[in-house]
Amino acid sequence: MQTDFLNEARRQAEICNACRYCEGYCSVFPALHAERAFSDGDLTQLANLCHNCRGCYYACQYTAPHEFDLNLPQALANVRQESWEDLAFPRAAGKAFQKNGVMIAAAAVLGFALLFWLASILKPVSGEGFYAVLSHNAMVAIFLPAFLFPLLSIGISLRRYWHRVGAQPLEMVHLARAFRQAANMKNLKGGHGDGCNFEDEDRFTHARRAAHQAVMYGFLLCFASTSVATVMHYVLGMPAPYGIISAPKLLGLSGGLLLVLGCVEMIRLKLKSDRQLGANKAFGGEIAFIGLLGFVGLSGLVLYALGQTSMMPVLLALHLGSVLAFFVLTPFTKMAHGFYRIAALAVDASR
């Protein structure tokens, strides 16, 4: 990892440790106060506990032009960003995709193209609905590895993370606590429950937490929709297409809507926020990734709306292509932060 980012974060953490005014904003400060010296692993853990709410920046009496030049949200964002790059498996993919919106877009385009191509050569002789375009077996053949590979990759990264921060073996209670905190995004409320300082300097708002919740729960609903459909297909012998009053459709529709709205709001907030308080070089990549995620949701909704028309094959390829790109990219994009966040919260709970 770049030692200058680590050293800068270390310098700032030592100042915060002598100050302690921000104790109470988030989990970072109590964890920070437990140390007197900060190893690279400690800083990686602190960085992944921080969710860039910026509360500490606006409360700080030492921000530039003061010579102490504190900007803890940015210092931690840089370390965090680098840590994801560094812990990614394979590492080269991490380096390439982490900060690069162009790469993300390229991957998505490749995904679409692949789908089109496969659809044209593997066009099934029979099949209903979507399967008339791409056979069920072809879909599974593409998506199963695209789903399993990211899981494997993230599993390896999390092991590396565990090792780097020097954490104890995982215990269920700590993991449970981490999931509880993530589920209601406790930290995004700020220590006082007024929210965070993302959109308008020192004003506290709940907008980012709300947007974040919409994205997370929207995504989980979509995921649930696919999972239920899979179970219905294989276990219950009820293949698609499903009617509107079916579990996959209800979950997918509500999830898709939440996901799209959440992503739009996320991008709006990100554009309004002060870029100097985040990892500057990741800005474009993050916007591109949120865009991709939003597009997954949107193309799914459009596909649903226009699924009976002649546009369907094109829309299907676009949707499946973006889903494919999303899955494959998961370990190397902003999406990975969710896994690291849970890991950091679990490590924190174990201390």
Partner: protein, 464 residues
């Protein structure tokens, strides 16, 4: 004088806690208020942005405060630190009103720490701001602006024109241009004069040039001097100020809280000749913290040097600058620029006077003291023997000065024995009316909040 349309009813001079409390209160009473803050926006809030807590009387649990803290106990604490040099009437007013201030702070956007970790245990007497004083200041600016208060930054007030017993107009400069306003009421909340080192040197002597200023460089006492020259009633002694011993490597201005050093009780402190000069173990640190500012100020070149050994390093709050570290005391002396022979002699005398350290207890007065040594170390006296050895330099850090404007219980200023009809003062600039000497942690914000609100209320009543 005719009043142009956009002239505010009230001008508040300053942009810290006292000013904001006054502006908010006046705006809530319906007045049109303008804040003239001398600092740029990034440095707005004066010393208030460096603060941490607010001392508050309370009858039972209140907000983040536990148990109770009565008027009599609060006053007794104040009497102790000031040696009785206080105006009891005003002190009681500040103390009594502090209780209703806490909910007022919360209602105007200030948030408190739920409870406190770390070394200070003030959970009963002091409410700690979540995020510290800058977050308090931010919350107040948001509240004030929502109430229609106008704020001008980098607006330095240079002169108030006194005519008989009223202020006719005030002058300020901004962006190289001079402006003149004729408000109906004026509230002065522009702090002390500690950032004017020449003024400090006039009061203290040349030694003051070596002092560090813990807070804002913008409190230069310009308005205070201007008013005192015109005969506005003064209070306090120019040599009285709140000063503590801080890390000698701190910036000249604005180092704030992080430059404090909590290691003195576990150390010996010598001057630049390698000689000890005071009992380092007199009391637990927060109580004795303040006296070391004066002790160091009285030493040659206004410096002191703290020496500890490895067994004490983790007993105090982490320091912002790492200590100087050496494997031998000779080496440490050289690195710190101290005469090695004298320092070694001082340490061996000290070590020889240390008795049995088995009762050593870092968080309470443990009575582990030296025998037959002058000056003695009356608590936490343990021989300095275990390498590596660590050292810090100490300098005097001035928090704020006490010479100021004398006010009455309505925060009004006076000339001779009559009030100035449209002039009020709040905060540090009148704190000497209550604090004759010494300091009680969290009382600065109490004075600013209580008198800021009174000044705002009175100024608005006069203007409306």
């Amino acid at each position: 004088m005719t009043r142009p349309e956009n002239t505010p009813d009230i001008v508040v001079i300053g942009g810290g806690n006292a000013a904001l409390c006054a502006a908010i209160t006046a705006a809530e009473a319906g007045a049109r208020v303008l804040i003239l803050e001398g600092a740029p926006k990034t440095y707005r809030g004066g010393n208030s942005r460096h603060t941490r807590n607010f001392r508050c009387m309370h009858d039972g649990p209140l907000g983040p405060l536990v148990e109770s803290y009565s008027e009599e106990e609060y006053l007794a604490d104040l009497m102790k630190v000031t040696g009785g040099k206080t105006d009891e009437g005003l002190a009681r007013l500040a103390i009594r009103t502090s209780e209703e201030c806490l909910p007022w702070l919360e209602a105007h956007g200030v948030r408190f720490q739920p409870s406190l970790s770390g070394t200070l245990s003030l959970a009963r007497t002091n409410a700690f701001f979540l995020g510290g004083g800058k977050s308090l200041v931010n919350a107040y600016y948001r509240t004030a602006e929502a109430l229609g208060v106008q704020v001008e930054y980098e607006a330095k007030v240079t002169h108030l024109e006194l005519n008989e017993d009223r202020i006719d107009f005030l002058d300020y400069t901004q962006g190289g241009k001079s402006h003149r306003l004729a408000p109906k009421s004026v509230v002065v909340a522009s702090g002390g004069f500690q950032a004017d080192v020449d003024w400090l040197a006039r009061a203290w002597g040349p030694a003051a040039k070596n002092f560090l200023i813990r807070g804002t460089p913008y409190n230069r006492g310009v308005v205070l001097a201007d008013l005192l020259e015109q005969g506005i009633e003064q209070v306090g002694d120019p040599t009285q100020c709140h000063a503590v011993a801080i890390d000698g490597r701190a910036p000249k201005f604005d180092g704030g809280i992080v430059t404090r050093l909590d290691c003195v009780p576990f150390s010996i402190v010598v001057n630049k000749d390698g000689q000890r000069f005071y009992d380092e173990g007199e009391d637990v640190w927060p109580k004795r913290y303040a006296i070391w500012g004066r002790l160091v100020a009285a030493q040659p070149d206004q410096v002191g040097y703290v020496i500890i050994d490895a067994k004490s390093l983790n007993l105090f709050m982490p320091s912002v600058f790492p200590p100087i570290k050496a494997d031998t005391l000779e080496e440490l002396a050289e690195m710190m620029g101290l005469p090695a022979d004298a320092l070694l002699q001082t340490i061996s005398d000290f070590n020889a006077a240390c008795g049995n350290p088995s009762d050593f207890h870092p968080t309470e007065l443990d009575g582990v003291s030296t025998q037959g040594l002058t000056p003695p170390k009356t608590n936490w006296a343990r021989a300095i023997t275990e390498p590596p050895f660590y050292g810090y330099s100490l300098r005097t850090g001035v928090t704020f000065t006490y010479l100021g404007l004398k006010v009455d219980e309505r925060a009004q200023c006076s000339i001779g024995n009559r009030p100035v009809s449209n002039l009020w003062a709040a905060g540090e600039t009148m704190a000497g009316s209550i604090l004759g000497q010494g300091y009680l942690a969290g009382f600065g914000m109490t004075i600013g909040t209580v008198f800021g609100r009174i000044a705002g209320r009175e100024a608005a009543a006069h203007a409306n």
